[in-house]
């Protein structure tokens, strides 16, 4: 929580009109010597003086705090809580407009009628960031015209806050369900506990007698035992291969190229979320680099990497498409490389490149998560 400091002083339009009339009254008083005019002049001047004092007192010893959720995604509304605290012992703060200043989309100010002395007042509102990345809140613009709207006291409260905005998330269930991943074509390729038969082998000491395959035992004359395909999590590897547009690409084409990169990143993030949700073990590579999956918060790691991926750090071109991870897992390859680029990825469950990306994107937007 930071405290308000130097306050900017501005006379409002009403204030100018009021002061002009006051000046007129003063001159009229001086000219005529009519004391009742002086009385009115005194009244108006008092209104101005009190405006200055009270607007200042309204802003004094006031502090503002912001709370936002820890995980934000681009283009999704999230709740923001702003707490105004008045540290003055006896005097409440009235009529405050608070504007949260940052890179978010929503910039309208919020109005607070009163913050009681030694009390707090909360404001809630919904906001959103349009793009992924590290975004900044720089502070609060607090202003008041209390009590008479003649003088506006404004202050900027510097409260730096960095928030990480993940890429935009879509519901990709439709897209993935139509892929080979969900068609049962791919097995886990591991023996283990499960129901799908994997094979038969000779009985070894210690094997569960219940798993003896009697038919083949009879046929072979040797104890044979059933093996099953493991039903543990299936592993999917998301391979993101991106290159930055060449510096010769300008104008609309450049914008389209950058747009495609963002769409691919967003798609990658959406798939990551969906696959994790549907119990897949997901690994991720970006331009051949394996993103660490250590620790419990590995998804956050992936999302962070996607959020912080800078276009200028991308390689200028992609010669061939490959994955540094084993070919036994399912791969979903996403790239902005030209269509004919060589692929060295086995078990490819899905391949997304810029061709048809717009169509996919349009469809996804229709069913935004």
């Amino acid at each position: 929580m930071s405290k308000l400091s130097r306050r900017k002083f501005k006379i409002t339009k009403t204030g100018y009109a009021f002061m002009l009339i006051t000046l007129g009254m003063g001159i009229a008083g001086l000219n005529t010597g009519n004391n009742l005019l002086y009385l009115l002049f005194g009244m108006m001047l008092s209104f101005i003086v009190l405006s200055g004092i009270l607007s200042d007192s309204s802003m004094r010893r006031l502090s503002v705090k912001r709370e936002v959720p820890q995980e934000l995604t681009a283009n999704a509304y999230f709740p923001v809580k702003i707490t105004l605290k008045n540290d003055k012992r006896y005097i409440p703060s009235y009529s405050l407009s608070v504007e949260d200043v940052g890179q978010q989309q929503d910039h309208t100010s919020r109005f607070v009628v009163k913050v009681p002395a030694m009390g707090t007042e909360d404001i809630f509102y919904f906001s959103r960031f349009a793009e992924r990345g590290l975004k900044k809140y720089s502070g609060f613009k607090v202003l008041t015209k209390y009590p008479f709207g003649l003088i506006q006291k404004a202050d900027f409260l510097k409260e730096d806050m960095d928030v990480l905005v993940y890429p935009e998330i879509f519901d990709v269930s439709g897209l993935l369900h139509s892929s080979a991943l969900y068609h049962g074509e791919y097995l886990s390729r591991q023996k283990g506990v499960g129901v799908n038969p994997w094979g038969l082998r000779s009985y070894q000491y210690g094997d569960d007698a219940r798993l003896i395959h009697w038919k083949s035992t009879a046929k072979r004359g040797d104890w044979m035992i059933k093996e099953f395909e493991s039903e543990k999590k299936m592993r999917v590897i998301l391979d993101l291969n991106l290159s930055k547009p060449a510096s010769t690409v300008v104008g609309y084409s450049r914008k389209a190229a950058l747009d495609n990169i963002e769409k691919l990143i967003s798609l990658c993030a959406s798939m990551l979320i969906y696959l994790v949700k549907t119990n897949y073990e997901v690994k991720m590579t970006i331009n051949g680099e394996i993103i660490s999956s250590r620790g419990r918060g590995y998804i956050t790691n992936y999302m962070r990497s996607l959020a912080l991926l800078k276009i200028e750090d991308l390689p200028p071109g992609i010669e061939k498409l490959e994955s540094p991870l084993d070919g036994e897992s399912m791969h979903i390859l996403m790239t902005n490389a030209p269509s004919g680029t060589e692929r060295f990825v086995e078990n490819l469950a899905m391949f997304v490149n810029t061709r048809g990306l717009d169509a996919i994107y349009q469809e996804l937007k229709g069913v935004k998560a």
């Binding site: 010597g33 005194g42 001047l45 109005f111």
Partner: protein
């Protein structure tokens, strides 16, 4: 009340307050009534079915037409800029009231109400102005605060289509505390206003300025007066002037012998008095003393100093105790420089007229010699009358009057004695009557009075004596003015009212000049003219009025300097040792002519007001705290449950005697639904305090209060 109800109420009250300020200066009753009707219609516009919906072009055309009419009237017609300006402002207000929609309309209405107040300040100097002025400050504080809240709220919403009714219909924004705080604010505003008022330097440059105030007309002091006009103004108890006597107070007996001379007349046509000469001679103030000398004092004369506060009158006559020898204004050099002519015009009848029409010039010091026209010095020289022939003229020859005069003055040779004999005759043989006398159509009033009715009012007495003196060959004139007055013990000043109006006689006595005679019976013995009784309340009000004139209307740079000096001298004195005090006292005494005790008094008074303000502040703080902070409740303190029952009773929910609190709360819940849920909490607290012998914590008590408040709002 909701926010919007408060906002509407205070806005309308502000408009009414501005308008009432105007009404007290002009008294247009019908106009005010119509305006009130329009305000009432505007207030209920939403509720009543009948709606005045006139197209915008109509209003524009009407406004333009009215503007042109008003301009035409100002430039080519009546020339009454202020009057037309006020009418136009009121018209605009009516327009706004009938078309009140946006914030801007409200804002315009506030400006117009201020213009009303401003107009009133130009039109009046009366203390009555203080009432709408103070109310205006309180209402303006409320209204402007609410208006600003509304505007700032709407600005913060921008063009967003958020639901605004929640804000407007909220009862939590404007609470009792908020109103109290705002009212306190207006109190601070009043203090600030007074401080600025008293400290802002005063000047009166007087460019393009003509006082347009509501001056009271008063019959009897114009160029010509009908016989009976003094009698008619005597029916009126309006105050004409207030007089302070800086050199010591006057006893009631002394006051009865003071004649506040106005003007005099020389020609009488049988029905009315007039003047044959219009000559006037300018007497400007002496730049060094600021005074105008009107006549020389007789050797050994006693100077009677008066500080006169004249009410705004149409006449420019300088009233003062007879005989006025000099007049002085407390005006600044710069003002004298800027306004070329400050002084009086004096005519041959001994009347002085103020040159300027500024109200500030109606407050002056007058210096008089009360005995100048009554003390007779016998002279053996041959009488000479260096006066106009008109002082000898009679309108017609009436043998009866001539006979009467010769009877009265038989064997008397000295003019003064003759005059005294006539005065004595009239006093002794006729009686005073203030009722209107009806003479026959063909009868001359004077003859009717002298030979027929034998009674009349002072004008008849003075007219009769003037005529009789002229028959006796003594030059004489009829004088009008006021006699006596009332003493207001509160401020120790004299109040002279229209009912104190009087008419008397001046005769030219050779060797003595003009001498005063008053033939009205009882005059010398101090008879009571039919002046209205001066009740205690009226006394206080009049005292307040004088203060208002002295400290508000008549407050100027000189007074500012004087009070500042007094305050600082008082402060200095308060903090210095006794010997130093004495020394300083002497110094100050030399410098300014005010008593030493006064400094201490002023300083102590300032100090006392600061202490009183501080105590008030602390009391208010305690009051505010008491409302907000809930106290710990001890076992057995179950008033809150009674409060709850009372609130429920108001909502039509009654607890049967047979019901236990728990049964009752359950029944309310089943009947009224879950929103009454907190009744259970309150009941639980009740059980705990009433039967459990437990105390309730401060925190819990606060929740209890909150629950009761919520219950009330349901």
């Amino acid at each position: 009340m909701t926010f919007s109800s408060y906002f509407k109420l205070s806005s309308y009250l502000l408009v009414l307050c501005g308008f009432s300020a105007l009404v007290i200066t002009r008294f247009f009753t019908l106009f005010a009534f119509v305006f009130l009707l329009i305000v009432m219609y505007s207030w209920n516009r939403e509720k009543i079915g009948f709606k005045i919906k006139l197209p915008k072009w109509f209003w524009n055309a009407l406004t333009l037409a009215y503007f042109f009419y008003a301009s035409y009237d100002v430039f080519f017609g009546s020339g009454d800029l202020i009057g037309q300006g006020i009418n136009f402002t009121v018209y605009l207000q009516v327009y706004k009231l009938l078309n009140l929609k946006s914030n801007r309309d409200y804002f315009h209405m506030y400006i117009l109400s201020f213009v009303n107040l401003l107009s009133a300040s130009i039109l009046t100097e009366s203390i009555v102005f203080a009432v709408p002025f103070l109310i205006y400050i309180v209402l303006a504080t409320w209204t402007f605060t609410l208006y600003n809240l509304k505007v700032q709220y709407e600005e913060s919403l921008g063009k967003k289509n958020e639901n605004r009714t929640e804000f407007y219909s909220s009862r939590k924004i404007i609470t009792r505390k908020f109103l109290l705080a705002t009212s306190l604010l207006s109190l601070v505003l009043i203090v600030f206003t007074s401080v600025i008022f008293f400290f802002f330097p005063r000047m009166s440059l007087g460019f393009f300025y003509k006082k347009v105030g509501n001056r009271k007309s008063m019959a009897g002091f114009s160029e010509e007066i009908d016989l009976g006009s003094i009698g008619s103004i005597m029916q009126n108890s309006t105050v004409v002037m207030r007089v302070e006597t800086p050199n010591g107070s006057v006893t009631p007996a002394e006051l009865e012998r003071i004649y506040w001379r106005g003007t005099a007349f020389d020609s009488y046509d049988g029905k009315k008095w007039g003047r044959t000469s219009k000559e006037k001679e300018k007497r400007l103030i002496d730049v060094l003393t600021g005074a105008v000398k009107l006549a020389e004092y007789k050797p050994g004369a006693k100077v009677f100093v008066q500080r006169i506060f004249l009410e705004p009158l149409e006449t420019k006559i300088v009233f003062a105790a007879d005989e006025m020898k000099g007049i002085k204004w407390e005006k600044l050099k710069i003002e004298r420089f800027l306004r070329k002519e400050i002084g009086v015009e004096k005519d041959i009848y001994g009347t002085s007229y103020i040159l300027s029409s500024l109200s500030a010039d109606q407050k002056y010091y007058a210096f008089s010699d009360l005995d100048a026209k009554t003390v007779y010095a016998p002279s053996n020289e041959e009488p000479v009358y260096p006066v106009r022939a008109s002082y000898f003229e009679v309108p017609y020859n009436d043998d009866r009057i001539a006979g009467l005069v010769s009877d009265i003055t038989r064997d008397i040779t000295v003019d003064y004695e003759k005059a005294k004999a006539i005065e004595r005759y009239l006093k002794g043989n006729y009686s005073y009557s203030d009722i209107d006398l009806n003479f026959e159509a063909d009868q001359r009033p004077l003859e009717g009075f002298l030979f027929d009715l034998g009674r009349g009012h002072c004008e008849l007495f003075s007219t009769a004596m003037v005529m009789m003196l002229r028959y006796a060959g003594i030059p004489s004139r009829n004088v009008v003015g006021f006699r006596g007055g009332n003493i207001n013990e509160l401020g120790n000043y004299i109040v002279v009212r229209q009912s104190d109006a009087h008419s008397w006689v001046e005769a030219y006595i050779s060797g003595n000049g003009w001498m005063r005679f008053d033939p009205t019976p009882g005059a010398a013995e101090g008879f009571q003219l039919p002046s209205r009784s001066f009740g205690v309340l009226a006394k206080y009000f009049d005292y307040l009025k004088l203060r208002w004139y002295k400290y508000v209307i008549d407050y100027d740079l000189r007074a500012q300097a004087r009070y500042a000096r007094m305050f600082f001298a008082g402060a200095r004195k308060f903090f210095t040792t006794a010997s130093a005090v004495k020394q300083q006292e002497e110094e100050i005494k030399e410098k300014i002519r005010y008593g030493s005790g006064r400094y201490r008094k002023i300083f102590l008074m300032s100090l006392a007001s600061i202490i009183v303000a501080f105590v008030l502040f602390m009391l208010i703080r305690v009051f505010l705290r008491r409302g907000s902070r809930s106290k710990k409740l001890q076992a057995g303190q179950v008033d809150f449950y009674m409060r709850m029952l009372k609130i429920l009773r108001k909502k039509g929910i009654h607890k049967q005697v047979s019901q236990t609190p728990k049964e009752f709360s359950k029944k309310v819940l089943t009947k009224r639904g879950k929103k009454y849920g907190f009744i259970e909490d309150i009941t639980e607290d009740y059980y705990s305090l009433r039967f459990g012998g437990n105390a309730v914590s401060k925190q819990r008590a606060k929740i209890l209060d909150e629950n009761l408040r919520r219950l009330k709002e349901l």
